[in-house]
């Protein structure tokens, strides 16, 4: 496999306020994110040569890139819609990067927009698009509850021990989110509150599940050669990995439910391209797919942040907190931003981008001198994973 390490750079980003944006449509959210990105990059829409647009849930089937084209008046440039479940935002971004690396375009945009609060449902819904029988009554919390139950059993954790470890992840994420102005939720929580919350899909309770919100985020991408024309501190793509596992894991014979091949494969590909041998120590921050507490725990192990079966020890030691060895989801993650599906990958990238520039919105949550950051989304039943690694220095 080839590499596009240090070939493309992000020179501008924007991110809308996330939350219950009842009075704003998807077009408003697109404008909010895109115009912040234009300003950040010092460009106008006339500079954009192509747009990779990520949106999962449309008002009807087959809406193409109309939200971006109609709201941003991009002219007659290509608007290429991407739908890859929860990984859509990252895959749209990576497609945009590959298009620039190919030489086909000089300046492109990746835009993710999702308006979940127009659907009428408080969750992500039941039975989403695969099969009217095999998927019957499959919910997102249900699918991830299956993982938690098996993980606890496989590593000899009692239900109480397991749930407490998961609760600590969410206490950390809420602590981070409380400092993040663009997050949906700003409340701090306690382990006790998490454990006593209503059950959603046992052993997962309310606070084990991410929020449901509206949001948009946008990136302007150009080649490394041209990046310095836009700004002094572009952020470089160091490596990426995308993996789509075959067949709904539910029916896959022998599938362990404690590790996902798509997570392992996508992260290893990204490390390989970025030249990372020891992610636990080399990465300075990571934004990972915490749709549920157990997902974040599994990612610690599948990404090599923690040894197999030892994530609990790192959680107990505070290794992933803002001041820990590897801060994870320092903006509060999906837990506090909610998960407007198509926007999340770009929102996570926005946090990594700002942190690597030393420009976090509040100084108290700026990490000291970060060099390498990872952003990741994981979607489907689940089976699709996308990882992108960014750095603020070439080489």
């Amino acid at each position: 496999m080839g590499s596009i390490k240090d070939q493309v750079a992000i020179v501008g980003m924007g991110c809308s306020k996330f939350g219950e944006r009842w009075d704003k449509g998807p077009e408003d959210l697109a404008i909010e994110a895109a115009y912040e990105a234009y300003e950040d990059a010092g460009i106008s829409k006339e500079n954009i040569e192509a747009c990779w647009f990520s949106q999962v849930m449309g008002p009807v089937i087959g809406v193409s890139g109309t939200v971006a084209a109609d709201s941003l008046k991009l002219g007659n440039i290509p608007v290429i819609r991407n739908e890859n479940w929860c990984a859509s935002g990252h895959i749209a971004l990576l497609e945009a990067c590959m298009a620039v690396a190919s030489g086909a375009y000089d300046v492109v945009m990746a835009l993710g927009v999702e308006k979940l609060k127009d659907t009428g449902f408080p969750g992500l819904g039941t039975g989403r698009g695969m099969h009217p029988v095999y998927e019957a009554r499959r919910t997102s919390p249900g699918s991830f509850g299956l993982i938690a139950q098996r993980y606890f059993d496989a590593y000899g954790l009692t239900i109480d021990e397991g749930r407490e470890a998961l609760a600590k992840i969410e206490v950390k994420n809420h602590d981070n989110g409380s400092l993040c102005p663009k997050a949906h939720f700003h409340n701090k929580i306690t382990v006790e509150k998490v454990l006593n919350a209503p059950v959603i899909a046992w052993p997962l309770g309310l606070f084990d599940c991410c929020g449901n919100s509206d949001g948009a985020a946008c990136a302007i991408i150009t080649s490394v050669e041209k990046a310095k024309d836009f700004r002094k501190d572009p952020i470089f793509l160091k490596g990426f990995g995308i993996s789509t596992d075959a067949m709904m894991p539910h029916f896959r014979p022998g599938f362990s439910w404690t590790s996902f091949d798509a997570l392992v494969t996508s992260s290893h590909k990204a490390y390989e391209m970025a030249g990372i041998k020891d992610p636990r120590n080399e990465l300075d921050l990571a934004e990972v797919h915490d749709c549920f507490s157990i997902t974040e725990l599994l990612i610690y192990e599948d990404f090599g942040f923690s040894p197999r079966g030892k994530a609990k020890e790192d959680i107990d030691a505070g290794f992933f907190t803002r001041d820990g060895g590897l801060p994870v989801n320092i903006d509060g993650g999906l837990k506090c931003f909610g998960h407007p599906i198509g926007a999340s990958g770009l929102r996570m990238t926005y946090e990594v981008y700002k942190q690597l520039q030393g420009k976090a919105d509040l100084p108290e949550r700026q990490i000291k001198n970060p060099r390498l950051g990872l952003a990741h989304t994981f979607g489907g039943p689940p089976q699709i994973s996308a990882v992108a690694i960014f750095g603020n220095e070439k080489g």
Binding site: F121, G123, G125, T126, G127, R128, G129, M130, H131, P132, V133, Y134, E135, A136, R137, R138, T139, P141, G142, S143, F144, G145, L146, I147, A148, Q149, R150, D153, P198, V199, I200, A201, W202, P203, L204, A246, M247, M248, H250, F251, R252, P253, G254, F255, W257
Partner: protein, 480 residues
């Protein structure tokens, strides 16, 4: 003359029961005592018929079966062959005669008679006769307490007989005593003294006496009289007036602990009688509805070999009590349930048809190259990547255990808010199955719990019933 009779038999009673005291308390009426069976909210006449058929044949279907006759008064589809769906889920071959018998509580014995005639004439060799019903009595009525839900199945054959068919006698009589109009949810009745006296008692006496006379038999010659009855008092009256000894000669009418299961009741009682019978026994079955049918059976030595199929006692013993009358109404569709998280993907007739071998027959694929089995069928092997090199294999008969599960509070109905999402490993090959768990208390589910598959209605949409397989816990008593 060619002998015909019953080779195999099996019944089915739902796991859920309702204490009749719960009904009586709600309405401030006396309870008739005991409990009634209640089909789960994912069961209907078709799914219960599939369970009874699997109990009759063994769960894998039998190639020699060339007919399936289905009898009911509560068919999920008013127009559409219900028997075809049952035959498919029971994994019977395609070259088979299927027919629905309907509209009467004598449809079960009517189907049985038609099967005996078909086999005797040489038209068919082995006919599975299955009757299944879940009727509704008006709220507060006697019938609400006395009705039950259940299914019974017998295989009518010319050889390997457990009981031979010795003769029958029928009367037809037109009277408005018990009926339902096309738009009716509940069973209508005329005055009970007319129904029970002029209708039930007189015609049952006439048909039983007629059969005994025709066969030259005295009532004392009968080992067990199988007399489905609308209530316990009528049952006792009838047995007494016919001269049967109530203590020794009369088959349990299954009224105190199950209830009258409509067109299925004669077959269910017959199955129960066969499970308790000894070689040489004479069984007399009679049933009433706008006239009456009576049939005489002689039990053969082969009955001794059928002991491992005797499941009725387990079904009668294993049960869970429904906690409230409200849930009973909801399970019966009489109060609307909030649907929980809406299911946005409607059933598709083309998908269900195209995938029927997996969805209905529960077939997986065994790779010809590496031997691994997967469900549903995979054209490209997950393990060795061989393309289109597999055999279809049935998996619905396999025992399994829970690999992992979750108790999902988001996806359930308001009357059953917890959906037990289950990942199970089936059989020695550990075939992975994903589905819902039914007939369980969610708190009893744990990793390693032994399960079997059962055919259920998973949800309705687009005007269609959507059927698939679910897991259920293996209960210790059932010989399984």
């Amino acid at each position: 003359m060619t002998k015909v009779g019953i080779s195999l038999f099996g019944g089915y009673i739902p796991y859920i029961r309702l204490d009749r005291g719960v009904i009586s308390k709600i309405w401030g009426r006396p309870s008739i005592g005991g409990e009634r069976s209640v089909a789960n909210n994912d069961e209907d006449a078709i799914t219960m018929a599939v369970e009874a058929s699997r109990n009759c044949m063994g769960p894998q279907g039998i190639d020699a079966v060339d007919g399936l006759f289905f009898a009911t008064t509560s068919a999920p589809y008013k127009e559409k062959m219900n028997a075809s769906l049952i035959a498919t889920a029971a994994d019977l071959k395609r070259e088979i005669t299927t027919t629905d018998f309907a509209h009467s509580l004598r449809s079960g014995t009517g189907a049985l008679k038609a099967a005996f005639d078909s086999v005797k004439s040489g038209s068919l060799a082995n006919v599975l006769v299955v009757a299944s019903d879940c009727r509704l009595g008006y709220p507060r009525s006697d019938q609400e307490q006395t009705f039950g839900d259940g299914a019974g199945a017998v295989m009518v054959s010319g050889e390997n007989l457990s009981a031979t068919f010795e003769g029958g006698y029928s009367i037809s009589n037109e009277m408005m005593d018990v009926w339902r109009n096309p738009e009716d949810t509940f069973v209508r009745t005329w005055e009970s003294r007319f129904i029970l006296g002029e209708g039930y008692l007189n015609h049952m006496k006439e048909v039983v006496s007629g059969l005994l006379r025709k066969c030259g038999l005295d009532p004392k010659a009968i080992s067990k009289a199988i007399l489905p009855a609308p209530d316990i008092r009528s049952h006792k009256n009838l047995a007494k007036q016919l001269g049967f000894d109530i203590n020794t000669q009369v088959q349990d009418p299954l009224l105190s602990n199950v209830g009258h299961c409509g067109s299925a009741h004669p077959l269910l009682m017959l199955v129960n009688a066969l499970e308790e019978a000894s070689p040489g026994d004479l069984l007399l079955l009679a049933t009433y509805a706008d006239g009456a049918d009576a049939m005489l059976f002689k039990v053969t030595d082969r009955i001794e070999k059928m002991k491992n199929q005797r499941r009725m006692k387990d079904y009668l013993r294993e049960k869970t009590l429904l906690s409230s009358y409200a849930r009973f109404l909801s399970y019966k569709g009489l109060v609307e349930t909030a649907p929980g998280e809406p299911f946005r993907l409607m059933p598709s007739a083309t998908v269900s048809w195209r995938d029927r071998k997996c969805i209905l027959r529960c077939h997986g694929s065994r790779c010809n190259e590496c031997g691994k089995t997967t469900f549903p069928v995979q054209r490209v092997c997950y393990h060795c990547n061989a393309k289109d090199s597999f055999d279809e294999v049935p998996i619905s008969h396999l025992k399994g255990e829970v690999f992992t599960f979750t108790l999902d509070n988001l996806a359930g109905r308001s009357d059953d808010p917890v959906v037990v999402q289950t990942i199970a490993d089936l059989g020695e090959d550990k075939i992975r199955f994903y589905g819902m768990m039914t007939d369980c208390d969610p708190s009893e589910v744990k990793i390693g719990l032994p399960i079997r598959l059962t055919f259920r209605r998973i949800y309705d949409g687009a005007g269609m019933h959507n059927y698939f397989w679910k897991c259920r816990p293996v209960r210790n008593g059932r010989s399984e």
